[in-house]
Symmetry: C2
Subunit: 523 residues, 2 copies
């Protein structure tokens, strides 16, 4: 067999089932190998940012890595922005990057670049194979690396000749490095802090935001009077009816500083200490009070599930905290605002839906409106790199075709990776894209004020404006054979959203927002 087949055999043995692909010439032997097996499903994506974002979404829902197929340095470069998000989401991904044949590098052909310089930026583990015989071991190592800890980015660079030269499948699955265990000492310290009578926040992130762990955390909070907080942009938060609710740390630094002002100590469980998304003149970067004690109970690399279970067992008499009740907000106006849209989404949410939130300036309110919806998963943009929403929705749909995907998607960020709509159509993903068209990089209008860079004039504002021309998202969706509707008042949205939730397959609803530019910032 050749190296490509040996690699693929090992990857399959290691549990790989899905390949998000945008291949080129240097990956043709792998494409051929995938063609010859029934065990790996290839998902063609028409841009590499879709490939990496889909792999992120797949990992967040399945807990397993997909492989990506990327073409040399430029192909990998196009995947980097969403790999940045995936890394911050602790998603397991195995990138396979084809490179020139070893002897071809010296000739500096047009597509030659320093591939390792690219891949090391986001990869926790990377290797360039040194022979065809390397590929089997390297494939097993890559999968193991991706599954180490909470999930990692592993990248394998494969010179084209290694894919076509003779090789053998010689390695089976390699065991990943397990999560670290939280020490007894750390457990004792945390228990003492929880009983010292101080105003305490338990700041949850990563897997601490899954249903079972929230239940453990709820018992701890109930017994100790601590408050449950959530990181601002969780990779996957399980919320809604019947689950333990958490208070999300606000996005805007000024609001977050107010929000955290009451706490004398924060106990971190799978989340980093809360810091501002950006720095601003005159606003501090850390969001907690200067004299607030920050104590890490479990990091994202620790076995958070086990740690929380043990900590909760320290409070055997706790009944647990109140669970979220089913509650649908009223629609208070006919205008299409984040509040009314959120209320409608809440009303029609199906149990176990997966919500992918890239609604940006609308997202904060949509989150609030859907607190009391039927239980669902909420996925956020973990790394702040826009263009994550549609690809992650695609990957989530591949990971679990039995769950409804709801992509709450701002227009500006949708434009980055709109090619995902094509793969959604091709793969018949069960997704409703709620495309929030405010014809603006609206969040930047807000940020412009926050940076205090001076009174903006019309020329400055034009650089944040998407209304000339207004993008017709129904046409874009239809161009890729995704069923699409445009709505301009809330009743229409209710009709179309209800319709789309009730039938399978991809659908896009373009919502022409009534919202005024900018959002008030409470200080």
């Amino acid at each position: 067999m050749n190296g490509a087949h040996a690699l693929l055999e090992t990857l399959m043995e290691s549990g790989i089932e899905v390949c998000f692909a945008n291949p080129g010439t240097s990956e043709m032997h792998l494409v051929t190998a995938i063609g010859k097996t029934d065990k790996v499903r290839p998902i063609l994506c028409l841009f590499e940012g879709v490939v990496s974002g889909a792999a992120d979404g797949y990992a967040r829902i399945s807990g397993k890595p997909a492989i990506t197929l990327l073409h040399l340095g430029p192909g990998y470069a196009n995947s980097m922005a969403n790999l940045h998000n995936a890394r911050r989401a602790n998603s397991a991904i195995v990138n396979i990057v084809g490179d020139h044949a070893v002897w071809h590098h010296q000739h500096d052909a047009p597509l030659t670049s320093d591939v390792e310089a690219h891949v090391k930026i986001h990869s926790h583990w990377f290797k360039t194979t040194t022979s065809a015989e390397d590929l089997s071991l390297a494939g097993a190592e890559a999968v193991a690396a991706s599954l180490s800890g909470p999930g990692k980015i592993a990248t394998l660079v494969v010179p084209a000749n290694h894919a076509w030269e003779a090789s053998s499948k010689s390695f089976d699955r390699i065991l990943p490095v397990p999560l670290d265990m939280v020490s007894d000492e750390r457990l004792e310290i945390t228990k003492r802090l929880l009983s010292n009578g101080k105003r305490t926040g338990l700041l949850l992130g990563g897997s601490a935001l899954r249903e079972q762990n929230l239940s453990y955390a709820g018992r701890i909070a109930s017994a100790t009077g601590a408050t449950l907080l959530s990181e601002t942009f969780p990779a996957r938060l399980q919320r809604g009816e019947g689950r333990v609710p958490v208070n999300r740390v606000p996005y805007f630094a000024e609001q977050a500083i107010d929000f955290l002002d009451e706490y004398e100590q924060l106990i971190l469980i799978g989340a980093p200490a809360p810091v501002a998304f950006f720095a601003y003149p005159g606003v501090k970067s850390t969001l907690y009070p200067d004299d607030c004690l920050i104590e890490e109970f479990a990091s994202a690399d620790d076995d958070v599930d086990h740690a929380l279970e043990r900590l909760s067992e320290s409070f055997p008499n706790s009944g647990g905290c109140a669970l979220q009740e089913y509650e649908v907000p009223d629609v208070v106006t006919q205008n299409l605002t984040p509040a009314t849209i959120g209320a409608v989404v809440c009303r029609h949410m199906k149990e176990d839906s997966i919500v992918v939130d890239e609604a940006i300036s609308s997202g904060l309110e949509l989150y609030v409106q859907t607190l009391g919806a039927k239980k669902h998963d909420w996925l956020a943009v973990t790394g702040g790199s826009i263009g994550y929403g549609l690809p992650v929705a695609l990957g989530a749909g591949i990971a679990d075709p039995d769950r409804k995907i709801i992509a709450l998607q701002a227009d500006g960020s949708a434009m980055y990776t709109l090619q995902a709509l094509w793969s959604m159509s091709r793969e018949e993903i069960d997704v409703v894209v709620v495309l929030l068209n405010n014809s603006s990089y609206n969040i930047l209008n807000v940020e412009l004020l926050r940076t205090r860079s001076g009174e903006p004039n019309s020329k400055t504002l034009s650089m944040l404006d998407l209304s000339d021309p207004v993008i017709d998202w129904v046409k874009i969706a239809q161009a890729m054979k995704v069923e699409a509707y445009k709505v301009s008042e809330i009743g229409e949205f209710d009709d179309k959203f209800s319709l789309a939730m009730g039938k399978p397959g991809p659908c896009l609803i373009e919502v022409i927002m009534s919202q005024e530019i900018g959002q008030p910032i409470k200080r």
Copy 2:
């Protein structure tokens, strides 16, 4: 004044007139500064790959750098694929990349990454400023670096606080490093080679392919019997009626090896030695005969104009070679094939049009069919990274609004950076996009065979297929308010192309190709 204003003042003093922008929060002070001047035209692009590609197109036509405005590591990452092409085109570009405030880095906020690790991959020159006072000097240095040699990539990383802290404009224009002069010794060696009676090719690239230099080269060829050859993917080739014609080295390695087989010596003038685009099993990487002498007369970093002029003066009695005559091929079938489409493009070419060729598998034939068109510039994908065509067409149109732009664009590569259509609409670019829809990564069907990876089955072929669903490019164009037509036979294409060439503003013609999948390869 603040750092952003100081930087902008210096950039303007250094000759910057255009900014291709996709800004974020960390660039708001620069956006505000640009808003306050009439001297810099901001072009908003809805994806960073459009930003960098447009800057490449602008530089190829104007010879000057534009600035780009990019947002942290992920924003820069999205620009990298087209920076790869720009670097290979020797285009002058000044990237301005905003980063977090200096003190904010330690907190590892979601958008934090190693920006320098990104920018050094493609930048000939880069600097991260160390204070607000740095910005003026750094701006002048960046422009000088971009204009050094034939054109370079210069990248300035600006921590956000340097943009808002106090600074002064203290530096004016800095002189770029001039091109190297070709030595008398090199001139003598080349003259001797040209008179040794061997079969000689003059392989021209870069600025050697401009009209005046082709004229010099024609005199040399006429006097010595050497043949004029062109690199396969020139940044800007001036061709057509009344110009000195060149023979392009074929793309496919097997054809190129045949093509170059006759030469005993190749003299390189602004071009590298010809090598295969990719390596293939059993095909060598160098395209010239093993015993062919390769002699570099002038590299891309040399003053090619001056060197060619001097060399041509060594042949005072040469009358120059025959100039290209005006010649329009017949349309031989009603089918929409690269040959018939090329013939129609040739027929309606306006003098001084700029053709941006990203037609990929159709491009080779389109090139041949338009040899005898009215004189025009032909821009090719220099680095092989697809998604270059629409952005470069945008940038070329900004550089010279008086010239018609013709973008010969394959469908698969168009999908990478289709957001460029929006900026074309907004800026009223005088461009005709000929969108060649064969619903396939057709070139990969060819490459699949060439890599000899085994008989492809339907699953393998599905990974190269764009027909499920077929993309409707008319709808995509209309979604961004670009006038659009779909044609399915050559008479219709003739009508619509003629119409589009005759009126200003952007227009897209979707050509439903009749061509069969794959193209024959002559071995």
